[in-house]
Amino acid sequence: MGWETEYEGFLAMLDEADSELLATEGAGSEEIKAFLSEDGEARRRFLKQALIAGGGVAAANLLLSYRLNLFAQTVESMASRSSSTVESAVTIPITLRVNGKTHALNLEPQVTLLDAIRERTGLTGSKKGCDRGQCGACTVLADGHRINSCLALAAAYDGVEITTIEGLANGDQLHPLQEAFIKHDGFQCGYCTPGQIMSAAGLLKEGCPTGMGVRECMSGNICRCGAYNGIVAAIEEVRGRQA
């Protein structure tokens, strides 16, 4: 498994960063040492999850910057209060680019891209159906590729161009997929619809692998109303026009 090798490599990097931190602080504080060792387990878990979720290098960089911030804030909080509990509200600055607009945010590193979009940019079109990457209602485009935004960490998408359902139309002019979904009634309750349409937009760009139909290529987006006939017809129509 690729991530395991990556994991070991990143851990070594982090350990190195830790010892540098300890050295720069003169290896003085016993509390800081204790903190770093207590924190080790949580850090390993986080890194592993990030790697399995496909965050890769971005996640490792994120973790490094998170560690530096956490360290600085820990030192600060130890100076200012006697309590040994450490507040978890450590944030890192990131630039979220959604539908052409830039949002400078300070986010906790565990905040998902979906929560960052829904709660920090005011764009609620992307939906949370399961928060586990199982339903596809949260699908957005990241640099043109479709992803489940509930499985992505916002900080790993620093500077990446994100497109949500609100950014698909050109002003009042609907995207051809949006027109086709209306025409073919490719939705009923509408809750999975933003995800379906964004997934279809990604599919138009990437194309269906040989031997695979639209149904297979859209099978990561679940519609409980069962509007699949309409969804598939809408996508086929727009694909046909493109070809």
Binding site: T85, R118, L123, T124, G125, S126, K127, K128, G129, C130, D131, R132, Q134, C135, A137, T164, I165, E166, L168, A169, L174, Q178, F181, I182, H184, D185, F187, Q188, C189, G190, Y191, C192, T193, P194, I197, V214, R215, E216, M218, S219, G220, N221, I222, C223, R224, C225, G226, A227, Y228, N229, G230, I231, V232
Partner: protein, 668 residues
């Protein structure tokens, strides 16, 4: 300008494809808190102690227990047996015990896990058999929520003379509705201003009724507003009364708006599902293929509380004999209690496998009654209003909800057709108990046929008023109508008309004898399924599906086909994939990775055909449609599997494991 029968654009279509449609989780109120529910972990027991542990700033939390309830601690529905919060006794493993609210939803979750419950367990029962045998009495005197009996002719005498007697036992599993939008509400409540709830729901007036009792307030102090709803399928019929009450209790105590939105796991485990069922059919047939007699025993598992089991059971009882003429029938049905979360209504399904009487394989013929069962519609006394504005627009006032099935669109079509106006000049008001009359619950395939008819007569009332005042001549244009509305409103202030349900002539039901016309009309259908069985994996795949039905006049051909396609897709899941795994009364596969529902890749192109036979008492001749497709797919698919493999399967969901067993059993 004809709109009925034409594929006009869906009213809320543009908002839904652009991400502008606002669902409850998209709304944020100033100063809003988030709410969470602490639930039992044992199936049956007595609460001994509740303690608040962990490194949690408990003084920042709003905490609500049964003691904080201002009115009665029961979810008012048919019976008053289900508490909002368990006070002492616990009857199922997801029973709500305590509520928490806090501005930080992450800390809230942490806190929820740090509430320690000390519960003394009591013996619990989880199967129909244990409940029927009264292994423990867990509800009432006999675990029986409701029972019905239907008698016709003399069944006892037919067995002697029958050429063939066919017997079978059939089992169906629970099914999770799995709307993609989980249950959610926002409430603002205070003793001074009363209670207002915005939420995802099918039946605003059910919630209204339940909150009246929970808070002991007068009717005008409770307001329930449906927001855009991401699917229901029966799963948001009565459960919203529970979550709305919880959010309102937290708001009442904290003085701030409170939002509760379940996550997927909580929604799947705690909310209602389709009732599991067991049916025994004994049928006498003559050599020339006539049905001589049927004896049917039908039992459903209602879970821990009565909820709507009596209504579901009644529909099941009446549909149990199928669409066949048979002179001698006895049907006995029972809804029983177990220590599982209550089962509610789900888009109704009747799985009545008929291959042995019908020779065709992969085929099912069936019917589905439209409207509330029995005297239901008479008791509901649904009302619809219509209001005209000075610029000649017409607003429909009804509590029937748009949950994806097209309520807004078809109401506008029905009104436009009746008034001969443009479809675009009709709007449908948002269901809000403060602004619209009670047109009844959005269930039971009743919205088009029953409520749609009321829409038609309410808007015709507007026209009559205008004609009666001499403002509108017989043949009028859109502009004439506008002028007439303006003149009328200038003179009288407002133009409104209301219409109340009256049973069609000749439709009578006797509650006592349990006989008569249970429905004003039935939809009829024949479904054919073609399946492939993979002989290595034993997976069954539906390759082709043809659905032919008669639902009266079709109001909107694309939406109607969508109702059928969607219902068949759900029914394919119900038949082949959707297996609720229970452990001690609790659903343990409460995620979408281990409770599998169909994707686009699992559903064949469903071919839908309508035979139009207008029904005199439906709007423009329409009947009900929503639940019909759930009834026929399972028997059609099981019959097709029997045709393919020779294995006669009498239970669903049919997982590959069962098929291996069935085939192994027959060949070995």
């Amino acid at each position: 300008m004809q709109t009925i029968g034409r594929p006009v654009p869906r009213k809320e279509g543009r908002d839904k494809v652009t991400g502008q449609a606002r669902y409850v989780d998209d709304l944020i109120f100033p100063e809003m808190l988030y709410g969470a529910t602490v639930r039992s972990a044992v199936a049956r027991g007595r609460i001994k102690k509740i303690s608040f542990e962990g490194n949690i700033p408990w003084d920042e939390f709003t905490i609500v227990t049964a003691k904080d309830i201002p009115g009665e601690n029961c979810v008012a529905l048919i019976l008053l047996d289900q508490p909002y919060l368990a006070d002492e006794f616990i009857n199922h493993p997801e029973e709500p015990i305590l509520l928490l609210a806090h501005p930080d939803k992450h800390l809230l979750e942490e806190a929820r896990r740090n509430v320690q419950l000390e519960i003394e367990p009591l013996p619990a029962i989880f199967t129909l058999e244990d409940s029927l045998n009264r292994k423990e009495i867990i509800w009432g005197e006999d675990n029986l929520f409701k029972s019905y009996k239907v008698e016709k002719g003399n069944v006892d005498e037919v067995w002697q003379s029958a050429d063939f007697i066919i017997e079978g036992e059939y089992e169906t599993g629970a099914q999770e509705q799995l709307y993609i939008e989980n249950n959610g509400v926002i409430a603002i409540a205070s003793p001074e201003d009363g209670v207002t709830v915005w939420g995802s729901m099918q039946c605003p007036y059910y919630v209204h009724k339940a909150l009246l009792k929970l808070f002991g307030l007068p009717e005008d102090k409770i307001r329930v507003v449906q927001v855009e709803t991401g699917g229901g399928f029966g799963g948001k019929e009565e459960y919203p009364s529970m979550i709305a009450g919880h959010a309102a209790l937290l708001s009442w105590k904290s003085g701030r708006p409170v939002k509760i939105v379940y996550d997927r796991a909580e929604d799947m485990a705690s909310t209602t599902k389709r009732h599991p069922s067991w049916t025994k059919h004994r049928t006498a047939v003559s050599r020339d293929g006539k049905l001589l007699g049927m004896e049917i025993d039908f039992v459903i598992d209602g879970g821990a509380y009565a909820t709507l089991s009596a209504v579901v059971l009644s529909r099941g009882t009446i549909h149990a004999a199928g669409p066949y003429s048979c002179p001698n029938v006895r049907i006995k049905s029972r809804a029983v209690a177990t220590n599982a979360p209550p089962h509610g209504e789900e888009r109704f399904a009747e799985s009545n496998k008929t291959s042995r009487q019908k020779k065709g394989m992969g085929f099912a013929s069936f019917m589905h009654g439209a409207g509330f069962t029995g005297s239901g519609e008479k008791y509901l006394e649904s009302v619809v209003g219509a209001e005209a504005t000075a610029d000649g627009r017409v607003r429909i006032l009804a509590a029937s909800t748009e949950i994806g099935q097209g309520t807004n669109t078809i109401f506008a079509q029905i009104a436009a057709e009746a008034l001969r106006l443009d479809y675009d000049s009709i709007e449908v008001a948002k269901p809000d108990t403060g602004a619209v009359p009670n047109s009844g619950p959005t269930v039971a395939s009743r919205t088009c046929m029953i409520v749609g008819k009321l829409v038609e007569s309410a808007v015709l009332g507007l026209k009559q008023t205008l004609s009666g005042s001499g403002l509108l001549k017989e043949n009028y244009t859109q502009e004439d109508f506008r002028q007439a509305c303006r003149s009328y409103i200038e003179q009288h202030g407002a133009l409104k008309s209301y219409s109340k349900y009256k049973a069609p002539p000749g439709i009578n039901w006797d509650d006592e004898k349990y006989e008569g016309d249970a429905y004003g009309a039935y939809a009829w259908a024949v479904y054919v399924a073609e399946v492939t069985i993979d002989t290595v994996t034993y997976e069954a795949r539906v390759d082709d599906f043809v659905a032919v039905q008669e639902v009266g006049k079709v109001i909107h051909p694309i939406l109607a086909a969508g109702q059928i396609e969607g219902g068949v897709a759900q029914a394919i899941g119900y038949t082949l994939f959707e297996n609720v795994v229970w452990k001690d009364g609790r659903m343990i596969n409460n995620q979408m990775t281990n409770y599998i529902i169909p994707t686009a890749a699992d559903i064949p192109p469903i071919r839908v055909f309508f035979e139009e036979n207008p029904y005199a008492y439906g709007p423009a001749g329409a009947k009900g449609i929503g639940e019909l497709p759930m009834d026929g797919a399972a028997p059609a698919i099981l019959n097709a599997i029997e045709n393919a493999t020779g294995a006669s399967i009498n239970h669903i969901p049919l997982m590959p494991e069962s098929l291996i067993e069935a085939l192994g059993g027959e060949s070995g």
